[in-house]
Subunit: 427 residues, 2 copies
């Protein structure tokens, strides 16, 4: 995965979203990528990007779009993807999720599954992700190495939990800290593609001491934070009883320095409103919207249009294995469809446009990883080359081709993947 | 596609649904198919099926399941699949659907598109379908020939419409009748896999004379009927104004002999309740539930659990291009997910189990085509051989493998397809 310090220019039909309300569409255009993997510029004229000495790599009639970012995915639930979808949250956790996560004490099992997981992320074109592993430091380390070897970006969370969970998934605060320190020592380098992220499972799985320790870790090493928020009403009531001093679920995280004190992403936010919404906005906490999971686990539909109106930052998450589909393209489709259900109830709030779903998956979610998710100058070149020739059989416009790819396509049409300027080969 | 008059026995893991509440699961079992293409029996012991002289075709570790049935799909909207999903019903009809359907006056265009459409149905494992063509007799005839050549079952509807539509999509009652008579003459043979189905587009597209003529055609030739019903509230109000003598939308069809006088399937039924529901039940009218379309076109969610409780017959439809996905497996997933949204509002009505979605797609929908959709003795052997080895990497149970295939799989795992006992090769 050595960088050969060369500028590159790629030619294709380039589509991306600078802002959420419209696509930038450049037919037969060029993108120049500097030796550091960042976009130098996009233009319809190669001469504007170069002195003429850089070879142009021509992707012909393909679409070139930013790669996908997944803001919420449980690597350790990969084996359970598409299984037990008939169950609701609690029996699903007790009978499928927790027993599965315990297996990650076994390094052989962990490596076998994590290898497939990273491969599958590659397959569906997700180049950056926010990942839950398990409490196990050693297998989390394996997962981080696999991402690093692949050249794909990831914020990987060793999970903090020591309450309301089976014994095999509980870890003392002290062991949690030791494990994190080891991962931080090895992986927390400036500009690294793969870094640790502080990951208390959620308030009910953590004692106050565990939450406090997580907050201290995040502050001390300036690490980002991820967790779950306001996914269902029973959970919200439980948090209220566990943290009676907090004004809302989010405020409970806030008390422990886990709600925007460092960059924070919270999955679900189905019932986020009022004070919690205001606090998220004030603290810049990002929403990982997981519509497939919310449907499968029968929780509800997060009000994304309202979040946009309030100025919240929102990206998309596959949430395997609550969600069943690892493809963020597929999650985009569900995000649009779920917003249409809100729209049916309140026609004042327009459903999400395709550009908005695309923007959530690219530039908006990408912002959690740095300058990622767009082809504006200075952005890291994370990109997919889409060869939709098998879908494209009747003079569609470029945007129609993109829409068809999002709605109908799959990994078969992804011809090349780039992360931070490097072409990523099959891991 | 000649039948060689041989009995056959296939070995695989056999899964099907006799009734909606549970799967029949036979590990390493055998199905015997008689020379006429019908199931002779299913057993764990081949000796129970045969005198020992029939060669057993062994599909190894594959799953063998009934093939998919699509109860509602517009072949003539195939080009628009996955396009213009940002639009609501009326602009979508005016700007995309009607202009597209007009192209089917052009036989070259029709043949090119219909060929791809039939190929795609084959690809996703749909062996029987209820299809809307257009008003054009000649291109409808081409579509029927393509199905016949492929060996796949289809009820194909030349569309009746002469009101509230662009001139190029309007046909006189007389021409409609002539066109139908020609198609009936050619295709309406006893036991034919491909037959005509009477297809008034929907009440607002047809004058009373057109509707009356459609009802007469159905009665005279004992043809089945398909149309749209209670998809959205504006449409229901419009029908009420057009047919003030009818007690409900369904009753308007009923007045013209188009509501169960011959076997009838109605797409959508999102708002079907009360008198309409009772009339459907009384007349045995089948529901084509199209959850992807209902989401995309922002109409609502049909109350399937309630339909089950009332004893209505329900199958699934892809409704391309209101729906975006031709795979009935994918439509099953949406049917379950949409039922979970109902369940959130009313916990008394349990969401659909996987077996119920599967049953809708196979035995229930199949009943519209004869004895189709199950492996019980006497059923036509419509089947898919699923090789999920690339999805099956951790000791899943057979039902977990099926669930994973339904949620995660695609055409790549469909290794063989059978319709009425014949293996169907790529058309």
């Amino acid at each position: 995965m050595d960088r050969d310090s060369k500028k590159r220019i790629y030619k294709a039909h380039i589509i991306y979203t600078k802002e959420k309300n419209r696509f930038e569409v450049l037919e037969n255009a060029y993108v120049a990528v500097d030796a550091d993997g960042r976009v130098a510029g996009v233009s319809s004229e190669p001469a504007l990007l170069d002195d003429g000495n850089t070879e142009v790599v021509d992707f012909g009639d393909c679409l070139l779009i930013p790669a996908m970012n997944d803001l919420h995915v449980h690597a350790s639930q990969y084996r359970n993807q598409g299984v037990a979808m008939d169950l609701e949250l609690l029996p699903w956790l007790q009978n499928y999720t927790f027993p599965e996560e315990m297996k990650y004490a076994d390094m052989d099992y962990a490596e076998r599954m994590y290898r497939r997981f990273v491969h599958d992320l590659w397959r569906v074109g997700t180049m950056r992700s926010c990942v839950f592993a398990t409490i196990h430091t050693e297998s989390t380390r394996v997962l981080m190495h696999l991402f690093r070897e692949a050249g794909m970006g990831a914020l990987v969370g060793k999970v903090g939990m020591n309450s309301n969970c089976p014994e095999g998934l509980s870890e003392s605060v002290e062991k949690m800290m030791q494990g994190y320190e080891a991962l931080i020592e090895e992986f927390n380098k400036p500009d690294a593609l793969v870094r640790p992220i502080v990951t208390p499972r959620f308030i009910p799985s953590c004692t106050p001491e565990m939450l406090r320790a997580c907050g201290e870790l995040a502050a001390k090493y300036q690490l980002p934070v991820q967790s779950h928020l306001s996914e269902n009403k029973d959970e919200i009531a439980l948090v209220q009883s566990l943290e009676p001093g907090s004004s809302c679920y989010g405020d409970a995280y806030n008390h422990y320095g886990l709600f925007g004190q460092t960059p924070t992403v919270m999955a679900h936010c189905v019932f986020t409103e009022g004070e919690e919404l205001a606090l998220m906005k004030r603290n810049g906490v990002m929403v990982a919207h997981c519509p497939t999971s919310n449907l499968n686990v029968t929780t509800g539909i997060a009000p994304i249009r309202q979040f946009f109106e309030e100025g919240l930052r929102v990206g998309l998450g596959s949430d395997i294995s609550g969600g069943h589909d690892l493809s963020i393209f597929r999650v985009m489709v569900y995000a649009i469809q779920m917003s249409k259900l809100h729209y049916q109830r309140n026609r004042e709030r327009r459903f999400l446009a395709l550009s908005e779903a695309f923007w959530m998956a690219t530039k908006s979610a990408g912002s959690f990883f740095g300058r990622v998710g767009s082809f504006e100058p200075g952005y890291e070149f994370d990109a997919l080359v889409i060869n939709d020739s098998d879908l494209n059989h009747d003079n569609y416009s470029l945007l129609e081709r993109l829409e068809r790819y999002i709605y109908l396509g799959d990994d078969r049409q992804i011809e090349k993947r780039f992360c931070r300027g490097m072409e990523i080969s099959e891991p």
